[in-house]
Symmetry: C2
Subunit: 411 residues, 2 copies
């Protein structure tokens, strides 16, 4: 039996104070006043909040600019997705970004912020080949004891419009990507049917999930949602498809939205939303009330697309709450549910949560109520992954430079 | 001659490093390598950014919940302005809020965040009478060496609909309010013409500015803008009127917007915008390009209206940038200009800025470029008001409990 870890005096989701005993990577017992055994590692929760590990279900950890001099963003307007992508490919070469190092810097920060699960889209194109994918694979291996990571083989620069990309994507699936990616089948790839047939075909053949970036606005995006639902049904892939961003769901009339919600439910298609700064975005409360599974994420953090976004999922919840016009604790907690339970469901984490038997992926953070933590964004006091301490006071104990994980408890 | 203060090695607005000499409350000299005199107080800027003092041109410092247990917001939806106001008046009594203490807590935090100027709207109604106004007056006096504060006599609960309110507002103007306030003349006060005639009349009689909250949407709000412009012209009050929020400017068609912009320019009416979480808001870049003076603020921070907002104006700029869809440094700096120069202009601060002769209201903050400070929100390293140090490393040196200001330099 592995060493037990006892976390004393925490308030799960803001409730009454309890002690939590972790063993073999899971929550073994939740009770008041658990007796201390001298074989246990004991941590004091100081009557703070206990949350399940935060889930970033939409990241791009391969292309941040952490640790580099300030990059003044000068991309001229108006900018289409293609303009960002072309600008990025150009700058990537110019800045000589090392994907492994950059992704490790981002993961280290994420662990410090209480993130225990990340689904990250990894750029694959005919310029960079599989270099990004290999870098992120190495980072996943390096941090595997501290973080659960899923990799999406993502044709950021387009797929059909860049011959040779499909073969590279397939290679990434063979190398261990858990998820196939897709991107704007009409506006970027110029052929929605062939784009979707290709990415669905690869996902089915390799038995992986499919997560499609869909920025396309209004009726064009809504048409793509229909095509995605048709293919999900035809291939029997219900429950394995996520559509990310889907701004179009915030742009169509009520009757059509209801029809699309039916399609999402029939095919158990998940929706990933970050909200949006200036654009419309999906009506999250309405989708949730209808029964659609929702998740959220960081998107690209501090990269050539723009300087914003944060590895901290509480920061994402705060922004989403602001953007949804939510002010009540109940509504903010609904969004926090998306950044925890929702993301875990999308990532297929069956034993996730704050109950006995769940994986001991836990975050201790200061606050009377969950909403107070969202408003104040205090450094995470303690972060546990599979029952082991991986961060303390906002700092990950996982070093980037070494190939070995060193945890506080080992020090 | 007062003691001189030398700030060494700072980069004004991200430019080349200089030294800044302050004397008699103003910037005396800006040069490379100013010689140190032993009579000077000397501070090391560590090659960080130098910004002018941040200007919060729209605050409600009389009603925050700082220093109190977490207040779970439970106001049911849908909520009109009147619902928030009624809820607030009810909770204010229940929580026995001491306006003087609460406003001092907010001002102390604001000074720590580099805010050197605040225009604050102070609730005046037939329930509380002038208690809030007296509390904020005392706080203004207490912090007068650290902060320039303007008080707005604000009928938050309505004016015509609550007989006796006009007399209280007039009393506040006699007691020293620099500004008359107004609020939604149609939806709250039920009579746009009589409401505006009354607030304009008081502003003219007492020779003060006028700052009107206008949440009214679409054509109703736009009609109020027209009425405000007509009265500004008739009374010759050009340049003395500010309209706050003005969501309607983001809701009307292009042709009508152009006509309203002409009215704003003809009458030199200022616009205050915080952006908005979920609602439309004024097109800031377009208004600025047309020549309209813009300012921004905190709005109510952590109060019964909702848990969000921050005393930190860089945080406001970050949110505004996100909400405007800005990603370029140039655009973020335009917004920072609103939170500095724009606010100072609205508050009538003629000698404001980073040039020789300007008031020595200065903020030193870590960052290569202004946008980096907006993205990272680091604690303010040094804050000077009229050449004297008032905050260091994010902490104000002004104590709330004492009636005297103690500054770091005195300690």
């Amino acid at each position: 039996m592995s060493k037990q870890t006892l976390l004393r005096n925490v308030r799960p989701w803001g409730g009454a104070p309890v002690d939590v005993l972790m063993a073999d990577g899971v929550i073994e017992q939740i009770a008041r006043n658990i007796s201390v055994d001298e074989a246990m590692s004991v941590y004091e929760g100081q009557n703070q909040l206990l949350l399940p590990g935060l889930v970033n279900a939409h990241a791009h950890i391969d292309k941040n600019l952490f640790g580099r001099p300030w990059h003044a963003n000068q991309t001229p307007e108006p900018r289409r997705i293609r303009d960002y992508v072309d600008n990025e490919r150009h700058l990537r070469r110019e800045l000589k970004l090392d994907t492994r190092a950059q992704s490790a810097l981002e993961v280290q920060r994420a662990i410090g912020a209480g993130v225990t699960h990340i689904r990250t889209h990894v750029d694959i194109d005919t310029d960079a080949g599989l270099a990004h994918f290999e870098g992120v694979l190495a980072t996943r291996e390096q941090f595997k004891e501290a973080l659960t990571m899923q990799l999406v083989a993502f044709p950021q620069s387009g797929m059909l419009v860049r011959p040779g990309t499909v073969e590279l994507l397939e290679e990434a699936l063979k190398m261990g990507a858990e998820c196939m990616g897709g991107l704007d089948p009409s506006t970027v790839d110029r052929d929605p049917v062939r784009h979707l047939d290709t990415v669905f075909g690869l996902a089915e053949r390799y038995g992986v999930e499919l997560d499609i970036h869909l920025h396309e606005p209004g009726m064009l995006g809504a048409f793509a949602v229909e095509l995605i639902a048709e293919r999900t049904k035809a291939l029997g892939m219900q429950g394995r498809i996520t559509i990310s961003h889907v701004f179009c769901l915030g742009m169509i009339d009520d009757a059509y939205l209801n029809r699309l919600i039916e399609l999402l439910l029939e095919n158990r298609i998940n929706i990933m939303s970050l909200g949006s700064g200036a654009s419309s975005f999906p009506p999250l409360k309405r989708l949730h009330a209808a029964g659609v599974t929702l998740c959220t994420g960081s998107d690209g953090v501090r990269d050539t697309w723009g300087p914003f976004n944060s590895v901290d999922m509480l920061d994402r919840v705060k922004f989403l709450a602001y953007r949804c016009g939510f002010r009540r604790d109940e509504d903010v907690e609904f969004l926090l549910g998306i950044a925890t339970q929702g993301g875990a469901k999308v990532m297929g984490q069956a034993n996730y949560g704050l109950a006995v038997g769940c994986a001991a992926d836990l975050v201790v953070v200061k606050g009377d109520a969950p909403t107070e933590a969202v408003v104040n964004l205090p450094p995470r006091t303690l972060v546990f992954k599979a029952g082991k301490l991986v961060a303390q006071n906002g700092e990950s104990g996982c070093k980037v430079q070494d190939n070995l994980l060193e945890r506080f408890e080992d020090a």
